[in-house]
C-alpha cells in the first residue's frame, strides 16, 4: 500500500468542482432574487437571508478547503465514529431540540441553528461505505443486509421521531446504493409495489382494492397452475397486499398527522374537505371521523404552496423575466421560496429554456457523480460515491418534483441551491469528501472487488 503524499497524484475532478461553483453561485443569485426587497438590495446585508447565504458560502469554502487537506484515510478510519456522534446528537435533539416549522430538528448555537439530520446523511454514507468496504462481502447475505438496513434505519427512525418526515425520507436513497452493491432488484420492485398500493389505498375504497388483488392473484394462479409454487406465491402476495392495504388505512387515518395527510391528499389531487366523509362511508376496519373540522381551512394552505409554485414557474414562459425581475418572486407570493421552493425562482426568471438547462446540468452533475463512483478502485470509495450521488439525486428529484407539483410537498432543500447553512455545509462536505477520495484513487491499489 502506498503512503499518501499530498504533493503528488492528487487529481481533483475539476469539472465537478466547476459545476459545484456554478450551482452554488446560481443558488445565491436566486436567493437574492427571492429574498431582497426594495429596502434591502445590498448583497452582503447580513440581516437578510441572501446576505447570510454569502456568509455560509464563505464558511463552506473553508470547510471544503479543510476537507481537501485531510488524509483520505481519515474518512475510512473515522466512518463509524462520525456515525455514532451524529446518532448521539440526534438522540439529544429528541429531548432538547429547537422546534421550527413543526419539526424538532435544530440545535441552536447562538443565532445559528444547526440541523444534525443534514449531517446524518453524511455520517450514514461513511458508515455504510465503511461497513461494506471492511468485510469481504461479495454477495450480500441476510446478515449483511440486516446490518446495512440497521445502519440506514436507525438515523432515519430518529429523524422521523423528530417529526422531520422530509429528512427521514431521504434515507430511502441509500437503498439505491444497496441495489448497486448486490441487493436484489426485487426489493426495489416490492418497494415500488408498496408505494403504488399506498397511493391506490388513498384513492380507492380499500375493500374494492383487496377484491381486485384477489381477482388478479386468482387469475395468475389459474393460468399457471401447473407450477405448484404458484398457489403459495399467489396466496402470499394476496394476503401481504391485503394486510398492507389495511395497515395503510390504519396508518393514514390514525398515525399520520393532519398536515402530513393533507400534503399527500393535495398531491394526489384529493379534496380534503370531501375526503374524510367519503372515506368514513367506506367499509374499513378503522373508522375515520367524518367531521374533522379543521380540514377545509388547512387544505388551502398546502395546496396554496403548490399552486403558487406552479403559477410562478408558469409565469416564466420561454425565456423568463430575467434576474431579479420575476413578478411572483419579487412579490413573495410563494412561501418558502428561498429555501424549499427555490426552483420557482429559476422557473420564473429564466423560463423554460433556463429551467431546462438547469435540469440538464444538474442531471449531468449527478450522472457524473455516479460515473465517478463506479470508477473507484476500492469498495469504500465506491459505496461512498454512490451514497453521495444518490442522496443528492433524491433531494433533486423530490425538491424539483414538488415545485413542479408532481410530488407531495416534502420540505427538503435543493442541494447547493436552497438557502440554509446546515444543508450547504453537509452537502459540500459530502461532495468534497468524495472528490478527495476520487482524487486519491490513483494512489490506491485496486481492491479485491
Amino acid at each position: 500500500m502506498n503512503y499518501h503524499r499530498p504533493e503528488e497524484n492528487i487529481r481533483i475532478d475539476w469539472l465537478t468542482v466547476i459545476i459545484y461553483i456554478l450551482i452554488v453561485s446560481f443558488g445565491a443569485m436566486n436567493i437574492y432574487s427571492a429574498n431582497s426587497t426594495i429596502d434591502h438590495t445590498f448583497i452582503f446585508d447580513l440581516t437578510m437571508e441572501y446576505g447570510k447565504q454569502f456568509l455560509w458560502i464563505g464558511v463552506a469554502a473553508i470547510i471544503v478547503f479543510l476537507i481537501l487537506l485531510l488524509d483520505p484515510k481519515f474518512f475510512n478510519f473515522s466512518g463509524y465514529g462520525i456515525y455514532i456522534i451524529v446518532i448521539i446528537m440526534l438522540l439529544i435533539l429528541l429531548g432538547t431540540g429547537v422546534i421550527n416549522k413543526g419539526a424538532q430538528a435544530w440545535f441552536k448555537i447562538g443565532s445559528f441553528k444547526l440541523q444534525p439530520s443534514e449531517f446524518a446523511k453524511y455520517a450514514t454514507s461513511l458508515a455504510l461505505a465503511k461497513y461494506l468496504g471492511t468485510f469481504d462481502v461479495k454477495f450480500l447475505g441476510r446478515k449483511n443486509i440486516a446490518i446495512c438496513f440497521g445502519i440506514i434505519l436507525l438515523p432515519m427512525a430518529l429523524t422521523l421521531a423528530q417529526n422531520d418526515t422530509g429528512s427521514a425520507l431521504v434515507f430511502v436513497s441509500f437503498f439505491l446504493v444497496l441495489y448497486r452493491e448486490g441487493l436484489s432488484g426485487w426489493y426495489l420492485v416490492i418497494g415500488l409495489y408498496m408505494a403504488a398500493l399506498f397511493v391506490f389505498t388513498i384513492l380507492f375504497p380499500s375493500l374494492y382494492l383487496i377484491f381486485g388483488i384477489l381477482l388478479i392473484c386468482g387469475a395468475v394462479f389459474y393460468f399457471f397452475k401447473k407450477y405448484a409454487q404458484m398457489l403459495w406465491l399467489s396466496l402470499i402476495v394476496f394476503f401481504a397486499s391485503a394486510i398492507f392495504i389495511l395497515s395503510v388505512d390504519f396508518i393514514f387515518a390514525k398515525v399520520l398527522q393532519p398536515h402530513q395527510q393533507q400534503r399527500i391528499l393535495v398531491t394526489l389531487n384529493q379534496d380534503v374537505a370531501e375526503y374524510y366523509p367519503r372515506k368514513a362511508k367506506e367499509f374499513s376496519l378503522f373508522k375515520i371521523d367524518a367531521n374533522r373540522k379543521d380540514k377545509k381551512a388547512s387544505k388551502r394552505d398546502y395546496s396554496y404552496n403548490v399552486r403558487q409554485s406552479k403559477i410562478s414557474i408558469g409565469a416564466g414562459r420561454w425565456v423568463g423575466n430575467g434576474f431579479n425581475n420575476g413578478t411572483q418572486t419579487k412579490a413573495k407570493l410563494v412561501p418558502e421560496q428561498h429555501t424549499d421552493f427555490i426552483f420557482c425562482t429559476v422557473g420564473e426568471e429564466y423560463g423554460f429554456i433556463g429551467s431546462t438547462l438547469f435540469v440538464l446540468v444538474y442531471i449531468f452533475f449527478i450522472g457524473r457523480l455516479y460515473y465517478m463512483a463506479e470508477r473507484q478502485k476500492n469498495v469504500f470509495s465506491r459505496v461512498y460515491g454512490y451514497c453521495t450521488a444518490s442522496v443528492i439525486f433524491f433531494h433533486f428529484f423530490v425538491n424539483v418534483g414538488m415545485a413542479l407539483g408532481v410530488l407531495p410537498v416534502i420540505g427538503i432543500p435543493l442541494p447547493f441551491m436552497s438557502y440554509g447553512g446546515s444543508s450547504l455545509f453537509s452537502f459540500s462536505m459530502m461532495l468534497f469528501t468524495f472528490l478527495k477520495l476520487d482524487a486519491n484513487r490513483v494512489n490506491e491499489i485496486s481492491s479485491v472487488y
Binding site: 426587497t37 426594495i38 439505491l176 441495489y179 448497486r180 403558487q308 406552479k310 403559477i311 410562478s312 414557474i313 408558469g314 409565469a315 416564466g316 414562459r317 420561454w318 423575466n321 425581475n325 413578478t327 411572483q328 419579487k330 412579490a331 413573495k332 407570493l333 422557473g347 420564473e348 423560463g351 423554460f352 429551467s355 431546462t356 435540469v359 440538464l360 442531471i363 449527478i366 450522472g367 455516479y370 460515473y371 463506479e374 478502485k377 450521488a389 439525486f393 428529484f397 424539483v400 418534483g401 413542479l404 407539483g405 408532481v406 485496486s446 481492491s447 472487488y449
Partner: protein, 628 residues
Amino acid sequence: MERNGKLLVFFIVLSVIGVIFITRLFFLQIVDTSNYYKALAYGSNEITIYPARGTIVDRNGKLLVYNDAVYDLMAVPKNIKSIDKVKLCNVLQIDTIELNTRIKKASRYNAREASIIYKSLPFNIYSQLQEILYDYPAFFIETKIDRRYNINGAAHLLGYMGEVSEKQLQVEKYYKPGDTKGVSGMEKSYELYLRGKKGKRIVLVDKFSRQQGSFAGGKFDSMPVAGQNIIASIDLNLQEYGEQLMKNKFGSIVAIEPATGEVLSIVNSPNYDPNVLVGQSRNKNFSALLLDPRKPLFNRALKAPYPPGSTFKTVQALIGQQEGVLFPDTRYPCHGGYHMGSLTVGCHSHASPLDLESSIQQSCNAYYCFVYRKILDNPRYSSVQEAYIKWTQYLNSFGIGIKTEIDLPEESPGIVKKTQYFEKVFGKNWRSSNVISLSIGQGEIGLTPLQMANVATVIANRGYYFTPHVVKAIGDEKLLPEKFKIKHKALIDPTYYDSIIAGMARVCKPGGTAGRTGIEGIAICAKTGTAQNPHGAHHSIFIAFPPRDNPKIAIAVVVENGGYGADYAAPIANLMIERYLATDKTKTTRQDMLDRMLNSNLVGSSIYDAPKPDSTLRKTLLPLTIKP
C-alpha cells in the same frame, strides 16, 4: 473490481426523470398559459391613470360639458396601524366614532383593498388633508373625474355616462370593470374621441397588495392621452330658449342649418337636467326618471314618429310635380272636403278652386286627395302598388321612412309602410282610396321631428340635404367626419320647388294658415300641420325656414295635443327663428306671443302617454275632419 450493468440502470432512471421534469416544465410554462395570466394578475397591480375626458362647447364656443375633479379619501383598513385618529377627525370634521364605523365597514368589505372613507372631499378639507396625510400611510386620496353640464337641459342631446356593463366588458377590451362610458347622446356617439387613452402604471404587489415598486422599471407604463374636445353644432342660446318655450308642453323642436346640415338645437320636452345623472345619486335619479310617467328619458326628437299632418302636403306637391301629374296651375275644387262614395275627407271653408300655390297657403285637404290619387293611379305604372313603391322611394330621398343617420344613438326611421302591409289590411288589390289619408299626412305615416326638420331643410335647399349632425368639429384639428359632407339629393328637380316655396312664403302672412304668427321683417316660408292622433287633442306641427333665399335655419316644431298648427307650433317656431336671426338675443317684437307660450300649460290638460311607434294606426283613418 466488480463491474456490473447497474450504472446503466442509474443513468436510465436519471434520464427518465430528466425527461419527466422537462416535459412537465414545457407543459407548465409553454402549453398551459393560464399560469402565466394568473401570474400577471397576482404579482402586479395595474394602476390606471384616467385621462381628462374631452369637453364639449357649442357652436359659439360656450362651454356645454366639462370635467370636475372629485377627491375621495381612501384607506386600506388592514394597513391602518396606530394613528392619531383625533387629528384626522378634526381635519375631516367628523367624530372618531364615525371614523371608526367607516373603517370597520370598509374592513368588512375587504380589509386588504382600498375603500372610500370620505367621498367627495370638500376643497378646504382636501387641502388641509394634503398636509397631514404623510402621517397616515394607509390613507391616500384618489382623484376621480366627474362630468358637469353647463346647461340644465339638452339632456337627450348631450347624453350621460354610465358604468360599462359586464357584457360590454367582454366585447370592448378597452374598458375595465368600474369604468364609465357614454351611454347616450353625444357622450355615446363620440365616446371614442372624448375618452382619450388611459395611461397605466404597473406596480409589483406582494400577497397583501402592498406596493413593491414599479414593474420592470416602468417599461410598460404609459401616460394617459387626454380626450379630444368637441365643438357641437348646437347654439346654446337657442337651445335654452327653445327649452323655455317648450316648458309645460310635450313635444320637440329640431332646428337645422340647411347649408351644412348642422343641428342648431334639439329640444325635447319633458326634459331633465343632465347633471342629475352624475355622481352618487345617479342611480337613484335614473330610476326616478325611468319611472316618471311623463317619460323624460324618451328622446322624442329622434324616436317619436308623429303623423306629419298638413306639413306633408309640401312633399306630396313636390312628388306630384315630379311625377308629371301636378302643375303649378292645376286647380282642384273643394266643397267642404273630398268626397268619394261613402268616403269623405273634410276640409275647412276657403275659396275654391285653388291652384298649387294657394293650396299650400290654405292647406286644402281635397286638393291633396286629388293629387295623391293622381300619383297612385298614374297610368305610367301598371298598378297602384307599383306607384306606391315609387312614391316611397321619393319619401326615402327626403329622409322619410329611413334613418337620417344623425350622429346620435337610437334614432327611429319613422313609419312608411310597405305594400305588403296594405295587402294584409285591404286585400291583394287595394286601391288608392284605401290609403287616401296619406295624402294629407295622416294614417300609415310617421315622421320624427328630426325628419320633419330635414324635410324643411330639403325644401329650403331646393333639393338636397346633408346628414343632420350635432358635431361641428372634433379635436384640435377641427375635423368633421366625411359622411357629413356628402350631399343627399331628393329625387325632385329643383324647378318644382318654386311654387311650393311661394305657397309656404304666404303661410305666415295674412290669409295664410298661420297668418297671425309671422314676425315683421323675416321672410319666413312655412307650413302648418294639425295631426289627428288617438292620444287626445291634435298635435300642433309646424315646419319653416327663413329667409326664402339662402335660408339660415330650417325648423320643425311638434307640440303634442297643442291643437292647430298655428296655435303653438307656429308661434314657437317663429320665436325661435327670430331669436336665432336677431343680433340682440334678448328682445322680441312679439312679446304677446312669447308670453302666451311661456304661460301656457298643456301638461295638465291631458293624460300623457308617450308616443309609441306603430300604435293603433288604423284608428286615425276614421272620420277625418282635418283642420288647417
